[in-house]
């Protein structure tokens, strides 16, 4: 270990590569789209036996949750990275999904389990999402308007914020009455295998509703990716756009966390892969590709784990592992800007 730890600025390492022309984006979209559809079909149909009226809806429910999560995570990550001007920060790395869990827990702690349960999923979800948007925008304002904070600092602060939120949630859970906590465990314990149908419906509406403004922002997002000054110079209402994007991200993260719990590196994995596959910057291409990759990773991964290895819920651990490696690779390649 040499003494090279001086406070070097996070300079840009230019990798002088020849442009690698991959397949045109349109072809990628078709290929990925067909793959995703095939995987979804396989997930629904492989080994289908027994009482169809029972098995099929269950599978539909699970695959629906996976697709929703893929959309929510893919869109929120790409949007977030564009707004923050880099390819490594993601909402969940910044501790957003841990924040959502903390909000859920605090709410349960403050109101008590029974009150929370009588509220019913729609109202509960609405309250949680509102709090989420409020707190996350406060957090972002603090983090991003500090002026000239380096990306590495933001990353580290974000990660430690995640630890803090998780620690605080677990503290609150332990402070609860144990009998209350047992009631709530069902609520907290999210997984693809037991998604509440009502929650799925609400999530579908929320995700669908948010994809419309996200899609309509796509050209503006292309401009935003050039940096704040250039974007303002080209007439983009910077503040409004960024605020809108952050609100969209907060809600999407809330949806995916509510559905299946936290997944710190899934978004990073999907966006890194999407940018790698198509050397494209246009959101009209990157957004659908990221979403499709997400569907392929989740549905395909689950399918392989279940059918080949006969594991059932280890997917999140595998994703965490791969995503962590991708993150390390991005850091070590000095591509973090």
């Amino acid at each position: 270990m040499r003494a090279r730890t001086g406070a070097l600025p996070a300079a840009v390492v230019q990798t002088a590569r020849r442009p690698v022309r991959t397949l045109p984006p349109r072809v990628w979209l078709v290929v990925l789209g067909v793959t995703a559809a095939a995987l979804v079909a396989a997930f629904l149909l492989v080994g289908l036996e027994g009482n169809l009226a029972y098995v099929l809806p269950r599978r539909l429910n699970r695959v629906g949750a996976m697709v929703l999560v893929a959309v929510a995570v893919g869109v929120s990550t790409v949007l977030f990275q564009t707004v923050t001007g880099n390819r490594i920060l993601t909402p969940s790395i910044m501790g957003l999904d841990a924040l959502y869990i903390l909000i859920q827990t605090s709410l349960a702690f403050a109101l008590g389990a029974s009150t929370l349960l009588t509220l019913g999923p729609p109202i509960r979800f609405a309250v949680e999402v509102t709090l989420m948007v409020a707190f996350s925008s406060m957090l972002y304002r603090w983090l991003f308007t500090g002026g000239g904070r380096s990306l590495h600092l933001l990353l580290l602060v974000g990660i430690v914020f995640g630890v803090f939120f998780r620690g605080a949630s677990s503290l609150l859970q332990r402070l609860m009455d144990p009998s209350e906590y047992i009631i709530l465990q069902d609520l907290f314990f999210a997984s693809f295998n037991r998604v509440d149908p009502t929650l799925l419906l609400i999530s579908a509406v929320a995700v669908g509703g948010l994809c419309v403004p996200a899609w309509r922002l796509r050209h503006r997002l292309d401009v935003l990716a050039l940096g704040r000054d250039t974007a303002v110079g080209l007439g983009v209402d910077y503040r409004r756009t960024v605020t809108l994007v952050l609100v969209i991200c907060s809600v999407l993260v809330a949806v995916s966390t509510a559905l299946v719990g936290p997944a710190t590196f899934f978004g990073l994995l999907v966006s890194a892969l999407a940018y790698q596959l198509c050397s494209q910057f246009r959101h009209a291409v990157v957004l659908p590709i990221a979403v499709l990759l997400g569907v392929i990773a989740l549905v395909g991964g689950q399918l392989v784990l279940e059918q080949v290895f006969a594991f059932d819920t280890a997917l999140s651990i595998v994703i965490e592992f791969t995503g962590g490696l991708v993150f390390l690779a991005l850091l070590l390649k000095g591509r973090v800007r």
């Binding site: 050209h219 401009v223 250039t230």
Partner: protein, 252 residues
Amino acid sequence: MITLDNATKRYGPITVVDGVSATIPRGGVTSIIGPNGAGKSTLLSMMSRLLPLDAGTVHVDGLDVSTTSGQTLARTLSILRQENQLTVRLSVRDLVGFGRFPHNGGRPTVVDREHIERALEYLDMTELADRFVDELSGGQRQRAFIAMVLAQDTDFILLDEPLNNLDMKHSVDMMRLLRRLVDDLGKTVVLVIHDINFASCYSDTIIAMRDGALIHQGTAEEIMTPEVLRDVYDVDIQVELIRGNRIGVYFA
């Protein structure tokens, strides 16, 4: 015409630009000069609404920059900052295409394509159009961004130290280009510049700032005198007339 009325910018207790009032005429090259920390770039940023004003107003072509919508302004004035670091990887043509964003909102038409090709041609970038921006040399990259600004097709073009990081040849090329924009296309160019001799040779108007205040405004003839320059820079600068240009000699 750009009209500044009492334009002021403060950072906490420090006033960076202190009540600047001025009129920059339409057409022509206007250079803003002054020592480091005089507030030149801040002033330019306020003129181009990249920074909000703390007091006073700026009107560009009659539009108040604080209240006019971003899109309308982007069709009237364009701004090029000195550091243009891109996180996205895109080709020169794609970059220039962004200049049309204020006009088409991201959906290019035939007219837009013509604008883009014209801008590329004007800057002699047609051959480089399919290269990625991050593969270009500093001078080429600067020209690519100028092409984008040109494609934006605004009457007013603001540039913050466009000669930064350019060698002599590229600096001369850049200033000639700006001159052509004014003489051939009737644009109004405002730039912040450090080299007083480039300012002297290529400007119609020079604005001199010091300590956040505008202290002199005039033609090159009026500004390029030992007295005025001393006032601005606190240095004795001889001014020689060389081939009709006033050149300040301050190297020894």
